[in-house]
């Protein structure tokens, strides 16, 4: 009996190693023979072989056919149909944005002034600046097997091949277990799957059988065969997978030659910039990252595993510079500026000075960032609010804590349950949650019970497809049907809690009875452990996700069985406004800043606090900087965000006064429209929630800048450090545009550069005095040593600040004022003096 299933291939990057691995994992447990046919290319593949699937050259939109024959054919077909409609759609790496077109680099003004003699443009594959001695690699390709090898008996050659496979497999296993980086692990796992792929073994053994080739020669030939197939693929993504095959073959050849793993033939001594036509992921992993400052690659592709690894390690990388290996020689000092997208092959003194100053500014930002990273989040008037992270693995949790998270506001457990043939065992889950508790070292962690519906890939649950999955049988609604699964998860969490406090949260709660039922399951789970003499002594709090609007009118009852709450604003707003976030036609109606939604949030917080319950917020609303004053004003106990937002959010909280946030929240609650809420927030930023015009940190009295360009660059770096701008290059350009009308040096050693910019977060006054006299092109042709920068927001009609600056301008024409500025050596005193003078 042969069953079939036709479909159009949905993934934008085609069928490459990782989705192919998923299909192979799904296919393997079934006894049936499963064939995958690409109707466009005519190629057929064995669904249990990753290489075979990848060689079918399937790209987005291709009509495909799956054929199932033999025992379990129908079960296999059902599983594939469910998977292809659900989880498969989610298993692709997000599309990397197209790299910047080569050669169109925007060089900031100060860099242009440093006049680099010569530079090569490239695509920015990973931003950052790297400085070091170039190390130029030769080309790639499988190392040619020694020509004068004589083949032994085919049987012996096959044995040698299989031994090499075992050896490399063991190396990869070891590397995977030691790797702390999820990206690196993913790449190594894909390589391991490729290594064990039946199509690779079949090809190598066929070549050996065909006649007189050694194992090494057969590996080289097989590698070439599969690489050629991939290189000929229409999709760029598939073409870049040829590097993965090369990597696996390199390892196999090294194993046969008796060398350890990927022979790290390259050892780095001192800061190094590696330059190569391309690099395999293995070669990159072998480079000593303590010394690797940057990478320059001939190819421009942004999606190879090598680039994915470079990005996860934060190694500045330029691609699409094919002439680099010829233009540079090893040992030459080069700078890779992967913020602008250029490589500077000859570092002149002026270029060196520019980049030294850039690196110093970057270090100051890094240091500043670190000072409050590990301090609790407190508003400017002393109100504490917890800032947590939303994560999905113990590794990610560890990174979150390193980045300043005070707790885990949401630990998603779905990845343990999805994309697999059966539910995770209690042991497996206990290990994961234990690792999580240990990484947390006593900090609060909220674990959300599995949140699955018919649209998610968990075929072993046998959930039917629903017409309306959003409003369907999902989350807590499933738990009565799957009590066993729920209790397994609960037992695992209870066991893991001996390592540290864990809290449990229930998704999709719409009524108190649901909480009661879960609470009962939790009690049963604990009893089962106690009966089995398994340790679980720590009490574990049980809470609810607030994401269905009905809960707003049932809080007192919910509080009986819930110890805490977390508001999931994404789904809450969807259900509240009856609008799908992903539907472009109605997405604008999903509006967290709408007064009605704010009233809903206020209601939830007030009711929770009335019963003394902790309430946090873990939705996307926490990541909108403009709404932060609202979240503070609501009186939430915690907000939980993605890792990259932790730093900026903690920094922003420190600048906001809680009392004023409550005022603006009340204004928002009595607004009639979202636009009105926006106006309240704008007034807030211009006034009580704004940043002061002048702060002592922006009075810099001992600058070693030597030129007008360096002064202006130092000023915009200072603005960036104090969060007054995130676009220093653009503000720099705007200041220079004003200088081009006529010099702002108005005489007697003073200059007053200024600009009106869209790129400023607040009106700012900065003062800079230099040790050395600066040529400013002043009206009186005298050098400048006292600089006052006036940086004004374009959109803000803030008369207060403009009046104050007009007054400052007049004061600057007076001798006594100038004398005081010239002679004052203390930043605080000078800031106070200026403040008092202009605000008189």
């Amino acid at each position: 009996m042969r069953l079939e299933h036709s479909f159009i291939f949905p993934l934008p990057n085609g069928l490459h190693a990782r989705p192919a691995t998923r299909l192979q994992e799904l296919a393997n447990p079934f006894q049936a023979d499963i064939r995958f046919l690409n109707r466009r290319s005519g190629r057929e593949a064995d669904a249990k072989s990753v290489l075979s699937l990848v060689s079918a050259d399937v790209k987005h939109g291709d009509p495909c056919l799956l054929a199932f024959t033999g025992p379990e054919a129908d079960a296999a077909r059902d599983a594939f149909i469910a998977f292809l409609a659900g989880g498969f759609l989610r298993c692709d790496e997000p599309l990397v944005p197209a790299p910047a077109p080569v050669g169109s680099a925007f060089l900031p003004r100060s860099l242009r002034q440093a006049q680099p003699e010569d530079w090569l443009g490239g695509a920015i594959l990973c931003p950052g600046i790297g400085w070091g001695k170039a190390l130029v690699f030769g080309g790639l390709g499988p190392a040619p097997a020694p020509q004068n090898q004589t083949a032994g008996e085919p049987r012996k050659e096959v044995e040698e091949f299989r031994r090499a496979v075992e050896s490399v497999s063991a190396d990869l296993d070891r590397a995977i277990s030691q790797s702390a980086n999820p990206q690196a692990r993913g790449v190594l796992q894909a390589h391991r799957a490729m290594l064990r792929d039946s199509a690779l073994a079949a090809k190598v053994e066929a070549l050996i059988a065909e006649g007189s080739t050694t194992a090494a020669q057969a590996i080289v030939a097989a590698g070439e065969f599969f690489s050629a197939t991939l290189r000929a693929a229409e999709s760029l993504y598939l073409r870049e997978r040829a590097l993965d095959i090369s990597d696996v073959c390199h390892r196999l050849l090294a194993a046969i030659g008796g060398q350890a793993a990927t022979a790290a033939t390259v050892s780095l001594r001192g800061p190094t910039v590696c330059v190569a036509p391309n690099l395999t992921p293995g070669q990159l992993l072998a480079l000593d990252r303590r010394y690797l400052q940057a990478l320059v690659l001939g190819e421009a592709g942004a999606t190879s595993h090598t680039i994915i690894l470079a990005r996860s390690f934060g190694i500045p990388t330029l691609g699409g510079v094919p002439e680099a290996p010829q233009r540079l020689s090893s040992g030459q000092e080069v700078i890779v500026d992967a913020n602008c997208g250029i490589l500077i092959p000859r570092v002149s003194p002026s270029v060196a000075r520019h980049y030294q100053r850039e690196q110093h500014a970057a270090e100051l930002r890094q240091a500043r960032w670190q000072t409050f990273q590990h301090q609790p989040a407190v508003t400017s008037d002393g109100r504490r609010i917890e800032v947590g992270a939303n994560v999905a693995s113990a590794d990610e949790a560890a990174r979150a804590f390193q980045s300043g998270a005070e707790g885990i506001g949401l630990f998603r457990t779905e990845m343990l349950f999805l994309d697999r043939a059966c539910a995770p065992s209690e042991e497996e889950q206990t290990a994961v949650y234990s690792a999580l508790a240990q990484a947390a070292a006593g900090r609060s962690v909220i674990v959300r019970l599995f949140d699955i519906g018919g649209d998610k890939p968990a075929p072993y649950l046998g959930l039917p497809q629903e017409k309306n999955p959003f409003l369907g049988h999902r989350g807590v609604r499933l738990y009565s049907d799957f009590a066993g699964l729920v209790k397994t998860q609960l037992r695992a969490i209870l066991r893991a809690a001996v390592h540290g406090p864990l809290k449990i949260m229930v998704p999709m709660i719409s009524r108190a009875e649901e909480m009661r039922a879960v609470k009962a399951l939790l009690a049963e789970a604990r009893e089962e452990l106690v009966a089995g003499a398994i340790r679980c002594e720590r009490p574990v709090e049980l809470g609810a996700m607030l994401e269905i609007p009905a809960v707003a009118f049932a809080m007192p009852e919910l509080c009986r069985d819930a110890d805490f709450f977390s508001i999931g604003t994404n789904d809450l707003a969807q259900y509240f406004f009856a609008a799908d976030r992903d539907n472009p036609k109605v997405a604008p109606m999903h509006s967290p800043a709408h007064p009605a939604f704010l009233r809903l949030l206020k209601q939830l917080v007030v009711q929770a606090h009335a019963q003394n319950r902790w309430v946090g917020l873990c939705g996307g609303m926490a990541e909108i900087p403009a709404l932060l004053p609202i979240l503070l004003g609501l009186g939430l106990d915690e907000i939980s965000l993605s890792i990259p937002r932790l730093g900026p959010t903690k920094g922003a909280i420190r600048q906001l006064p809680d009392a004023a946030c409550r005022v603006v929240l009340n204004q928002a609650l009595s607004s009639a429209t979202e636009a009105e809420v926006g106006r309240c927030l704008q007034a807030f930023r211009a006034g009580p929630g704004g940043m002061p015009l002048l702060i002592p940190q922006l009075v810099m009295l001992d600058s070693d800048a030597r030129t007008k360009g360096e002064v202006i660059r130092e000023l915009v770096h200072a603005l960036q450090l104090e969060s007054r701008t995130s676009q220093p290059d653009l503000v720099e350009e705007e200041i220079w545009l004003r200088e081009e009308s006529y010099s702002t040096g108005f005489g007697r050693g003073f200059a007053i550069p200024h600009c009106q910019s869209e790129h400023l977060s607040a009106n700012t006054l900065a003062v800079l005095k230099t040790r050395e006299p600066i040529d400013w092109g002043s009206l009186d042709n005298q050098p400048v040593r006292n600089v006052l920068l006036l940086a004004i927001r374009k959109d803000q009609a803030d008369r207060e600040h403009l009046k104050v600056l007009a007054r400052l301008s007049r004061l600057l024409m007076r001798d006594e004022f100038q004398d005081r500025l010239r002679t004052e050596t203390n930043s605080e005193s000078l800031a106070v003096f200026i403040q008092e003078s202009i605000y008189e």
Partner: protein, 98 residues
């Protein structure tokens, strides 16, 4: 001499007011009467009335851009200089009005 003046620089944040200050200071030192209207980012301040303009012996524009409501000065002789010049050499600029 009874002088009225208007200052207006490109961004209207600083030089408009610096020039006004420089002209006021210098005119007073030279024994003149002066009223300076500033046209800046905040709009028109210290606005010159028709009476002010009528009574003036001389009109000075120290401006880099168009003067707003220029019709007020119809019929009067106007000396115009760039803002920079008023800053660099206010005395010389005032001398032109004599």
């Amino acid at each position: 001499m009874n002088i009225v003046a208007v200052t207006a620089c490109p961004t209207g944040i600083a030089h408009t007011y610096m020039a006004a200050e420089a002209l006021e200071k210098t005119a007073k030192k030279l024994g003149h009467q002066i009223k300076v209207e500033t046209q800046g980012a905040m709009g028109i301040e210290n606005e010159l009335s028709p009476a002010d303009i009528q009574a003036a012996d001389a009109v000075l524009f120290a401006v880099d851009i168009e003067v707003e409501q220029r019709e007020r000065f119809q019929g009067k002789k106007v000396i115009q200089v760039p803002v920079q010049q008023a800053l660099k050499d206010p005395q010389g600029v005032l001398a032109k009005l004599a």
